[in-house]
């Protein structure tokens, strides 16, 4: 078995078999990263560049750790300290890096489609680590992997994505990934933060948080992305938290135990309160651990296809 793609640009370019293969490979890597010595020598002869044109802590660390656990050589750079500021184009920047014999590029960029554009114009395997409000495939894969780990399988599960769907690449990738695996998806949030034609993706919309939570098995709480909001989408953070924040009282009042997920970073007290984030229903820290295993699997499978 091998992946049907040479790059990971988005979930929509994958198929269900690819996701299955990534999960099965990630199972093995999860075992590896829980060994006393957490490193394997597989990618000794692979060099990977992490290029982050947008801020990131978790994703960048997770990718770097995954690459180092696989023994790849890693160079990382952030746009803030680079020649991009001097006016260099994206293709020039990346080709300069590739001329130093780099095999794979992990890129985060503010523009939707940046990873796709790069894959068409440079000779390297590309992994999209988030392109604007478009896709964040590794996050969606680790989310589904965490659901599979917690609930046994993804197929047939009901997942609600709550909050700032409009600005969220995590939401879009999750919708594609969950539907591909046979889960049912609902989005919930203030009307202003739900894209107008989201139903065309086959998801349902609910504006009442309690109803959405009572329907679901898993609630994926998105971060309110204040940095991407140039106008006010809701009256105040306090009002948002009251309408769309999950606290322990709400969670306990539901007729079943649901799983709480969050892609991070959490605005504690906004999307979820601290006692929810730290409760046993929350798998937030498992998501972070699984992120390394999933990224190891993706890098391993893509690296296998480099000629």
């Amino acid at each position: 078995m091998e992946l049907s793609v040479n790059h990971l640009l988005g979930i929509k370019y994958l198929n269900a078999n690819d996701i299955q293969l990534i999960f099965e490979t990630a199972d093995h890597f999860k075992e590896v990263i829980n060994r006393p010595i957490k490193k394997v020598p597989t990618l000794r002869d692979i060099t990977i560049a992490n290029i982050f044109f947008e801020n990131s802590t978790r994703t960048k660390l997770s990718f770097e750790l995954a690459q180092k656990r696989l023994s790849a050589d890693v160079i990382s750079f952030s746009a803030a300290q680079s020649s991009v500021k001097k006016g260099e184009t994206l293709i020039d920047t990346v080709n300069n890096i590739l001329s130093m014999k780099v095999d794979m590029v992990v890129m985060r960029h503010a523009n939707p489609g940046a990873a796709y554009f790069l894959s068409q114009n440079v000779k390297a395997s590309i992994i999209n680590a988030g392109d604007g409000a478009h896709e964040h495939p590794t996050q969606a894969l680790l989310d589904s992997f965490s659901i599979r780990e917690k609930l046994g399988e993804v197929a047939g599960k009901k997942v609600v994505i709550v909050g700032d769907v409009l600005h969220s690449r995590v939401a879009l990738s999750n919708i594609y990934a969950l539907q591909m695996q046979g889960a049912e998806v609902k989005v919930c949030g203030p009307k202003t933060l739900i894209p107008k034609y989201i139903e065309s993706l086959g998801v349902t919309v609910e504006t009442n948080l309690r109803k959405a939570l009572e329907w679901c098995d898993v609630a994926n709480m998105l971060r309110v992305q204040n940095e991407r909001m140039e106008v006010n989408y809701f009256p105040s953070t306090r009002e948002y938290a009251q309408q769309y924040g999950v606290d322990k009282a709400l969670l306990d009042s539901l007729n079943k135990e649901i799983v709480i997920m969050h892609p991070g970073p959490i605005n504690r007290g906004v999307e979820i309160t601290s006692d929810v984030a730290d409760s046993k229903q929350s798998v937030i820290l498992n998501q972070v651990e699984n992120g390394v295993a999933i990224r190891m699997a993706i890098i391993y499978l893509l690296a296998s296809k480099i000629q």
Binding site: M1, E2, T25, D27, H28, E31, V32, R35, P36, I37, K38, K39, V40, P41, T42, L43, D45, L70, Y300, L301, A303, S304, K305, I306
Partner: protein, 181 residues
Amino acid sequence: MSQKILLTSKEVNIILHRLACQLIENHNDFSNTVLIGIQPRGVFLAERIKTILENSYKVKEVTLGFLDITFFRDDFRRGEKVLEANQTKIDFLVENKKVVFIDDVLFTGRSIRSALTAIQSFGRPSTIELLVLIDRRFSRELPIQPDYRGRQVDVINNEKVVVNWSEKDGEDAIYLKEKDN
């Protein structure tokens, strides 16, 4: 495809008992010894040896683990196919233990070379030995030899040794088959 039988079920059984006895000779009560089956095909042999040791020779609780060597192989990206992993199941440390690697066929020695590296992730064993059911002579690419061998065979290049186990393949038998070209 032509094939000839190398070992029948009865012969396999006799050999397994002999190998078990040889292990007892060197490891007594197995209190400081762990058996490691090399994935994928070494695990059947390792499980058999463990069962024989415990049931026929009354050795108490033989520690058994399975080691997958996929991520330690030296041919990543060199073949046609993506190397697929198998489960590693070692829920103990091998620090200062006497480790016995168990595999069905010893051919080039490269799997065992990988296993020697892979096992280091679980500690520093005091010794490592190798037990194989079939030792293919004259085909080694590395200086690796078994400490316990079931049967030594001479195999020419376009032939391969196929080990069948009743729990997976319906019978215990070892065949010499001509490779499809």
